[in-house]
């Protein structure tokens, strides 16, 4: 039994560097030791990413050509205490999306991510875009705010940014609209 004890202790002591390595990401086997299969999986993933890139562009060119493309983006520039619940978007008085945000998405927006909320097609000319957002502010207070803007659709793609911001009116979240060409 003592032999077992000694062997177990030895195993633990030998494994001490592993604790150190575990402290952050443990390094996998060196590249040279990777099998041909690992290399093949890497190569496949690269090819699948390239294919998806090309298909992503093809889909956009086919479904939303630049001549009619309009995209509405949502971004945030608010304090830590505002949580965005949903955004409803209407184009020419017709609802095109009503989006509910997950905790992960709220976090991504707060960290500087910008969500492409809607991608659609509009004819050249003037269009009306209306957006409402709901959310919770300080002291669990519910907020609902809206904005309406006229968008002149020309020949090229049109991008509209709806920024939920509390900079202008101190603790009162509002939409700040910016139109990008």
């Amino acid at each position: 039994m003592k032999t077992a004890l000694i062997s177990f202790l030895a195993a633990v002591v030998v494994s001490l560097p592993a604790f150190a390595a575990d402290a952050a990401d443990p390094p996998p086997a060196p590249d040279a030791e990777r099998s041909a299969l690992d290399t093949e999986v890497q190569s496949l993933r690269r090819d699948v990413v390239d294919l998806n890139r090309d298909l992503f562009m093809l889909e956009e060119d086919l479904l939303f050509p630049a001549s009619t493309q309009v995209a509405v983006f949502v971004s945030m520039d608010v304090g830590t205490f505002f949580a965005l619940d949903s955004v409803q978007l209407k184009v020419d008085n017709k609802e095109v999306t009503n989006y509910l945000y997950t905790e992960r998405e709220q976090d991504a927006l707060k960290r500087g991510g910008v969500q492409r909320l809607w991608l659609g097609n509009l004819k050249a000319g003037e269009h009306e875009v209306t957006a409402f957002f709901t959310g919770k502010g300080p002291h669990e207070r519910d907020y609902k705010r809206g904005t309406t803007l006229k968008v002149e659709k020309g020949v090229g793609a049109k991008y509209v940014e709806l920024k939920v911001s509390d900079k202008l009116t101190k603790l009162q979240p509002e939409f700040v609209v910016r139109v990008w060409e």
Binding site: P28, R46, E60, R111
Partner: protein, 630 residues
């Protein structure tokens, strides 16, 4: 007995001493970014949700479309980081090296590129090169990244067993709290390995006594306490070992090792009754755990040491039965794995968005194919292999979805062509009825007429239809009166005609300013309308000529994609099948090793049992079970 057990369980719960409290906010994250291109923000939106594949695809597409110009270098850095996150080290390395080779890359981006290159090289096990890259990245990194850089350098040294250098690197280092604790842990390990046990244990002890609610740091605290416990055990200091081992959480992943160690600490102090408590607690746990396997031998060993031979015999027999049963179950699982059922179970675990699929594997229902899955994941080779298998499965689903979409795209292109061909004759007919050139000519003539009138202040030019009629009438009257020159009876009529013409001229003159402005505005509106008409005519004509070509080009792109998708789908299917075979081989090999170890333990138990029987035969005085602890 119950009281002692409760005391023992309480002692193993997290200790609450006056230790530093680690806030959740101290855990590092990426700094916020000021987005200048909406599409770069969209990439980040997916990146921050750890949706790395989608983020990478969007980044690659937007980059190709020239939509990331304001973030060109940031985007490259992110692209390299995304490849790194997906385990694509070669691509990541290429991107970082390219950024560094470009002399115009600004210093903050260079620093980050050096840092990530260092990470790639570290992950590839190239510690020397990683060290060089990481040391070049200092200067402009954020506090958290700087801390990670420092720790990676130290860990590279530890991996190369350069403990003295690691100690220099980590001593007197003051990073953010979260990283500092990892640094202290590694410093403690480095000191112990370098032979400075006292300093090392003191350092590990500072980590072993932290108070935290953060799971990663609780796991680090357990590791520190386990390391302290076993170092003390090895040094023959069981009391100190037990203090540290009792701080390991009873529900944590290291609790079995801690329980076994606590038992050995008691046994080393000749406290066999006390040793039985943690060892017996282990016996209800998974027998694949090395600590649990050993506890089956440790319990009868303690009874034998206490002189309770009948209990020792009973527990050795129990150990043999448990080992045999487990070996049979392993055999059953090996058969199931060989028939290809292992991965069915592995793929059942979904990602709930919080704990991830990895953690969910621990909760799979007990069945021959899934019983040992979580245990197998402890091995890096199996874990990496399963990650690859899941990645291949996702690729396969992705390709199947695109394959369907391409069919729809093809239909769409055909439908558009058909609709265009059908609408063309009617559109042509409508266009033929409109002569934009003639309209344009008439507009030019009007413009010229207006400009002449303005230049000569021709008030008649802006007269209304009624006024023109009045002027014509007055001209007719004047002509008639001219036939009667000298006839005094027409004098009154002449005076009236003169007054009427004067009044009309006065009216035309008074209206001149307003009318010239109105005419100018009407011409401007006309110009705009004519311009719109010409633009529409040009656009219609261009669309008429360009649309079929554009549609055909899209059709060709769709056609070119289909074989690419099909070819990749075949390659992915083949790789997935080979990966499944490889995982089954690793699993069977690992389980065979386990079975062999259980065989060895079983033989050891049988030998111990035979020895007890031999002693009993040589010395017939019976053991006193009633003397044994309950």
């Amino acid at each position: 007995m119950l009281r002692t057990l409760l005391f023992f369980l309480a002692a193993l719960a997290p200790a609450a001493y006056a230790a530093p409290v680690v806030e959740q906010d101290a855990v590092p994250g990426l700094p916020a970014v000021q987005v200048q291109d909406l599409h770069y923000g969209d990439v980040l939106f997916h990146f921050y949700q750890q949706d790395y594949f989608d983020s990478l695809v969007r980044l690659a597409a937007y980059r190709e479309q020239g939509k990331l110009l304001a973030h060109e270098r940031d985007a490259e850095l992110l692209r390299g980081g995304l490849y790194l996150s997906l385990g694509q080290h070669r691509e990541a390395r290429e991107i970082f090296e390219k950024l560094l080779a470009d002399t115009s890359t600004p210093k903050p981006v260079r620093d980050q590129a050096w840092f990530y290159l260092g990470k790639v090289l570290y992950a590839a096990g190239l510690y020397e090169e990683s060290d060089k890259a990481l040391r070049q990245s200092a200067g402009t990194l954020s506090e958290d990244v700087e801390a990670e850089r420092h720790l990676l350098i130290a860990q590279g040294l530890l991996n190369r067993q350069r403990y003295d250098q690691a100690i220099i690197e980590l001593s007197n280092w003051a990073g953010p709290r979260y990283w500092l604790l990892y640094g202290q842990f590694n410093l403690g390990v480095a000191l112990v390995r370098a032979g400075e046990a006292q300093r090392g244990l003191a350092m590990l002890d500072s980590v072993g006594q932290i108070e935290t609610q953060w799971p990663e740091l609780m796991a680090l605290r357990d590791k520190a306490n386990l390391a302290i416990g076993y170092v003390h055990l090895q040094a023959g200091e069981p009391a100190a070992a037990r203090v540290a081992l009792e701080r390991v959480r009873l529900n944590g992943p290291l609790s079995s090792k801690a329980l076994l160690g606590a038992g050995w600490a008691d046994a080393a102090a000749k406290q066999y009754e006390a040793a039985l408590l943690p060892w017996q607690e282990l016996q209800g746990r998974n027998l694949l755990d090395a600590a649990v396997q050993e506890s089956y031998l440790a319990v009868p060993y303690a009874y034998a040491e206490l002189g309770a031979m009948s209990q020792a015999v009973e527990y050795y027999e129990k150990a043999i039965a448990a080992y045999d049963a487990e070996r049979a179950r392993i055999g059953e699982s090996i058969d199931s794995i060989r028939t290809g059922h292992l991965l069915d179970a592995a793929m059942k675990a979904g990602d709930d968005g919080r704990s991830g699929w990895f953690a969910q594997l621990a909760t799979l229902p007990d069945s021959p194919e899934s019983r040992y899955l979580y245990h197998l994941l402890a091995g890096n080779e199996f874990q990496e292999g399963l990650k690859n298998y899941r990645a291949l499965d996702e690729m396969s689903k992705n390709l199947a979805t695109w394959s369907e979409s391409l069919g729809a795209f093809d239909d769409m292109v055909q439908t558009r062509k058909q609709a265009f061909d059908e609408k063309l004759p009617a559109a042509d007919a409508r266009l033929a009825t409109v002569d934009v050139a003639a309209i344009n000519g008439r507009r030019d003539a009007l413009q010229a007429e207006f400009e002449t009138a303005i230049a000569s202040r021709d008030i008649y030019a802006l007269a209304t239809e009624a006024e023109r009629e009045q002027l014509d009438m007055l001209d007719a009257v004047d002509s008639e009166l001219a036939l009667h020159v000298g006839d005094a009876s027409y004098d009154d009529a002449r005076e009236k005609a003169r007054l009427a013409r004067g009044a009309l001229l006065w009216k035309l003159d008074a209206a001149w300013k307003v009318r010239s402005w109105q005419a100018s505005r009407a011409l401007r509106d006309l110009n705009a309308s004519v311009y719109d008409a010409r633009t529409r005519e040009t656009a219609s004509s261009r669309a008429r000529e360009g649309a079929p070509e554009k549609n055909a080009a899209l059709g060709r792109r769709v056609q070119r994609m289909s074989p690419r998708v099909a070819e990749l789908a075949v390659r992915v299917k083949g790789a997935k099948s080979r990966q499944a075979e490889r995982l089954a081989d690793i699993a069977v090999r690992e389980l065979e090793d386990q079975r062999k170890r259980l065989d060895e333990y079983s033989v050891e138990a049988r030998y111990a049992l035979a020895t007890i029987y031999d002693r009993a035969t040589a010395n017939p005085a019976p053991a006193k079970p009633q003397d044994a602890p309950p």
